[in-house]
């Protein structure tokens, strides 16, 4: 435990270790685990959670929380699918659909941010209320699941771009954005807002703008996640992504970002999201009776959350 004492504030090291253990366990349990196609399929499954968790990180760093991101995922999905179908479903329609989808995500995030930072609302209850509104709008746009996306969309998502699997390109772009933001003054300021709000205010930081930007980022990454899910399901679903918000919060906390704000980073959340996904995978391949899988998964996640908090506390 003495060695662990030096980890103060670095839960992500513990998470990385947990991830390594999970990887070894998975290799033992699933013999073809290291085949490129299996790796790719696992990473594809985890991608939406990874993206939502990255976005959620910024909101949590700023001392807020976004429970509406699941509803944003659904709204972006139905809007994108509808726009693509409405424009005839050719290449231009797909590109426009993607852009409109991202716009919707950012728009939803801006609404959250402006209400919460501008009107001084409580983030938990506010994003719950806006999530009701966003899900309502999603049902208005597309009352029932359906409306397939054109073949090039899902074929590209499952295929490659310039020889590299599309999913890896998306991971790379997400990493790039996260690393870029991590090096910007924005990040330091956001952490100041989350960690010491009154002090940050006294140093003259524009708290409102920083918090609104964080919510907009969460909306944008929610849109990314939604567009990826759309690539997987290849159709519209107004109820898509409902459990993502809660899982993403677990992922962010596992990744070492403090819920109280101020400490952590997006790359840790990526590790956290992988851990959440890998726990499910290991349990599936461990051959537990079906009805015990959810319980074991819940226990492991609770233990991991508690463990992460404990180890970094000393």
């Amino acid at each position: 435990m003495i060695g662990l004492g030096k980890l103060g504030g670095r839960t992500w090291v513990v998470t990385a270790a947990a991830l390594a253990v999970l990887l070894v366990a998975n290799v033992i349990l699933q013999h073809n685990f290291l085949e490129p196609s299996v790796i790719q399929s696992n990473l594809t499954t985890f991608l939406p959670l990874v993206l939502v968790a990255i976005g959620q990180t910024y909101v949590i760093l700023g001392g807020d929380i976004d429970l509406s991101v699941g509803a944003i995922v659904a709204l972006v999905n139905v809007v994108t699918v509808t726009v693509i179908a409405g424009l005839g479903g050719d290449g231009t329609a797909v590109v426009l659909g993607l852009l409109v989808g991202m716009g919707v995500g950012i728009g939803c995030g801006l609404i959250n941010g402006l209400i919460i930072a501008g009107l001084r609302f409580q983030p938990i209850v506010t994003t719950f209320a806006t999530s009701i509104v966003f899900s309502g709008l999603a049902l208005w746009v597309l009352p029932q699941a359906g409306l397939p996306v054109p073949e090039p969309y899902w074929r590209t998502y499952a295929g490659t771009i310039v020889g590299i699997p599309t999913v890896y390109v998306i991971y790379f772009v997400a990493f790039l954005i996260a690393t870029f933001l991590a090096a910007r003054p924005f990040m330091t300021r956001l952490k100041a807002v989350g960690g010491q709000r009154a002090a940050a205010f006294q140093t003259g930081l524009n708290l409102g703008r920083l918090r609104v930007s964080a919510f907009a980022l969460s909306g944008l990454f929610g849109a990314f996640a939604s567009l990826c899910l759309t690539g997987e399901t290849a159709s519209g679903d107004p109820l898509m992504g409902q459990s993502l918000a809660m899982s993403a919060i677990s992922a962010v906390v596992l990744g070492g970002t403090a819920l109280a704000g101020g400490v952590g980073g997006a790359l840790g959340s990526v590790l956290g999201a992988w851990v959440v996904g890998m726990i499910g995978s290991v349990i599936f391949f461990a051959g537990l009776p079906f009805e015990y899988q959810t319980l074991v998964q819940g226990l492991i996640i609770l233990a991991a959350l508690a463990g992460g908090v404990l180890v970094t506390r000393r």
Binding site: V125, V133, S135, R197, M246, Y292, G298
Partner: protein, 318 residues
Amino acid sequence: MNRFLELAKNPLVISSAAILALLVIGELVSPGFARGDQIVRLLTVSAILGIAAAGQNLVILGGREGIDLSIGAVISLGAVIAGNVMNGSDAAIPLAFAAACFAGFLIGLVNGLGVTYLRIPPLVMTLGMMGVIQGGLVVLSRGVPSGNAAPALMAFVSRSAFLGVPGILFVWAAIIVLMALVLKRTRFGWSIYAVGSNENAAVLTGLPARRIRVLLYGLAGLFGGFTGVCVIGYTGNSFISVGDQYVLPSVIAVVIGGTSLSGGAGSYTGTALGAIALILLQSVLTTLNLEFWGRQVIFGVTLLLLMLLYGRQARLRV
């Protein structure tokens, strides 16, 4: 004028006014909405949410970002346990209540221990616990709905016990009186406010802040288990996600009722009014001949407008 403004900002006044306005709107839209038996029916639905919100109210009052996201899973657990204990037999109703409340209380204690002694943030602790209970429910029920409510329990929730009012409303009224007495008139009640508003000061005056907080989470679980039994009395049988729909509405009822999410201020009377206002709002929206999506959007926007009246955070500039 100042007096008037102060009165208009009182959460109890706001939620009472909202309730009256909603009744008037409901009656205008669909005559008969505010008829006696309709109001009793609405109050019955409110009672279930209200009892769940009692637990939520306690942990929120206790401060330190207190919140219980596992309350929905505890409600489901209570319903499943009660259904299996009763299995249609009236004689087993007391045992069903006891078993559900005890299970809820134990889970709440674990939440409380995690939050206080391991210092896990309440949101994370109760979110993790929610996953564990949901998994436990799958094991308990093997994925199929099992157990059903005893006839007397269903009568307790939906049939008249006295003058057209079902038993559950008398129980809720008793809970409201009891909560008010405990919170405002007992040492334990005062210490909840003390711990919730300034924990350090509370500890320095010799209050066992940790034990109080553990107990609050335990009580939240107990109320959740109790709610679960009421839910199965209302629906007749249980499924393992029956409680999910109460999680965030219970928080909203507390906020609309004027309890601050940062703890230490508020009352259960307000929360009860908040629960009634929430159920009335949903019911008015149902009577409006709107499509589902329209109802959802108006519901969400109305919640935001209600929060505009209070529940806002303090300004940083003084």
